[in-house]
Symmetry: C4
């Protein structure tokens, strides 16, 4: 994708996720790899309202999160997390959403360091998964304002467990990625659907 | 309906169902009978994002699910289920949605093989139902990746119980159909409404 | 309002209510008084998809529910209920919505014949209510397919209790009305908001 | 911002909040400071449907809530509350929304006079907050139809606790503000998100 196509897609995706309540306030941030070696990443600027982004809000950074091309603005505070995901997984696009369900489930299961999602047909929307019997592990990282440390933890996690499709940060939402922006967007929809399903299912449990 | 009208309607329906969260990721698939003997079916392609389909994503298959007219793409993995429904019920359109409520209720009631919905005025939106006192049985099939076997089960079920308007596949969503695409769409809305009502009603129960 | 303005407003209102899930399938029906003596009512046709009405779906009936002006189509099956409301209250517009929350609360409270809503600021959106301390009684009628009988019950209820702003039919939704279509639409929004608030509040109760 | 820009922004914001269910009926009211000394405020008119405002619905008032410039219409009944917030906090914009979650949580916690929100990353969207560990106190004022008294209470509260970003009025919704309309809108989204998260999290508690 050209830079202008990346902008066009991220602007539309931001408006859609904002409408669904997955990127309210200035939450959520999105990135797409422009070039892999040396790494150049298009990433949403810090503190942007996702309902009305323009191409000025999509910045370009290098593999250490430094701004390229003299553009103005400040890249997302979570840029290093995006770079960690790209480097550990080889992903071409990284999406971070911040929904109510990811927020509360990442809190509910904090004690177990994550939780399994199994037996749902929707799992097959995750790349490489071919049966609902698949057991997806969704790890939870403790939240921190030390993004460098958090990025290090994420990178270590992703290198250790190469079969993940996403992870949660406690009370902070979901990170997922893909070999293309379309695949990453699909993973957001799949995982947000599964989180809502798991959450609502749990609320019915005691009545069974 | 002509092929281009079918495309136009399925594209609009896909966008609407996607917006409502009934066809996220690449879930959901939709078909319309073009000709009955020999059977020719327009069906959504496999792994398509329902929010932005084009007519290239509506393929034509025969009564055994084989592609017709040399079109490119791959028909929905669940094509045989659509054909089974068409053949067992005589329906002209088959719609499969994958909502949160159908997913969790098909799990909640797995032990009983289905559940009754009774006493709701909304039931009258199902073809041939003229009173809220109607007792609708919504069977649940166990999910499987062997679509041929699953299609066989669905066909046997529908031939045995000719009064059904839909069925669930466990943790996989809803199948419904109609004598026209408009009737099938109405059945989706009716059944999704009833599933949400039954699910939320159940969550209030212990407080009564 | 002229007939064409009535059509324009009801078409927009139908699309909005359908989008919100208050008039799915072919549920919901809406009417506006054209002339009061002798009564002429514009009312939505039976079995119409509210997301895509045209002016052909707005029919004209007299005070006994008979079609006027030789238009084709069939007026809403619940026409007599609309007429009963108009005659008992003097309303200029009657709106019937069919949401999940009105459906389940009308079932939950069936034993008490209705329930009070009190202490909510939103009550002030109901015509003539000037304080949140107002106690609104929302009666529940048992559902029936004998619309003539149901209309009789509604009329008796409304004549007996002249301070009502709406009533529920069990597992069938809400009727409300107003001195104008705008007032009736406001009453729908107010009462649907209150129903959702009351319903969700009740689900938090045992945790308090 | 010019008066016409203020109108344009408030009209768009009203339509968005109405769509989300945060300003149904005629609930919600919004204001922007035009000039600070002497105070001139643009504020939404009383009893307006927020889904379809025009610039006629944005009125101008002075620091005592009196209409300026001979415009017709009646300013929001809660004008004095807006003025109290502007004067106590120095805010440039004040937004009052009326969602289901703010309504029920302001009731649920009435006994404690408010509640803390802590540990959520989303808190960082509140101006001046730089860590999820921040403890935000959301006070609850008892509702009253004596707006002058309520405005006095709000002003006293805001002067006493200068670190607040919003407050609730019991069963009446949320007030928040900002140094700009964009900041105030962001605060609405942040606080409404947090209220929904806190509310749903609480409903999962007993299952843990």
């Amino acid at each position: 994708m050209s830079k202008s196509e990346i902008c066009e897609h991220l602007i539309a995706l931001g408006a859609d996720f904002h409408r669904r309540g997955w990127a309210l306030g200035t939450s959520g941030n999105f990135s797409v790899v422009i070039e892999r070696a040396p790494l150049r990443l298009a990433i949403t600027a810090s503190s942007v309202d996702k309902s009305c982004m323009t191409s000025d809000h999509i910045l370009e950074v290098d593999g250490r999160g430094r701004m390229l091309n003299g553009a103005s603005g400040k890249p997302s505070a979570e840029t290093l997390l995006h770079i960690a995901v790209v480097q550990a997984t080889g992903a071409s696009a990284v999406l971070h959403t911040h929904s109510v369900w990811s927020t509360i489930l990442s809190d509910y299961h904090r004690g177990q360091g994550g939780f399994h999602i199994q037996g749902y047909e929707m799992l097959k929307g995750l790349e490489g998964v071919s049966t609902h019997e698949h057991e997806e592990w969704l790890p939870i990282l403790e939240n921190s304002q030390d993004i460098e440390a958090l990025a290090g933890e994420a990178e270590a996690l992703l290198k250790e467990q190469s079969n993940l499709h996403g992870f949660l940060i406690r009370r902070h939402g979901l990170y997922t990625w893909g070999q293309s922006l379309a695949e990453a967007k699909r993973h957001v929809e799949i995982l947000e659907f599964l989180l809502e399903s798991v959450g609502r299912r749990r609320m019915m449990e005691p009545i069974a």
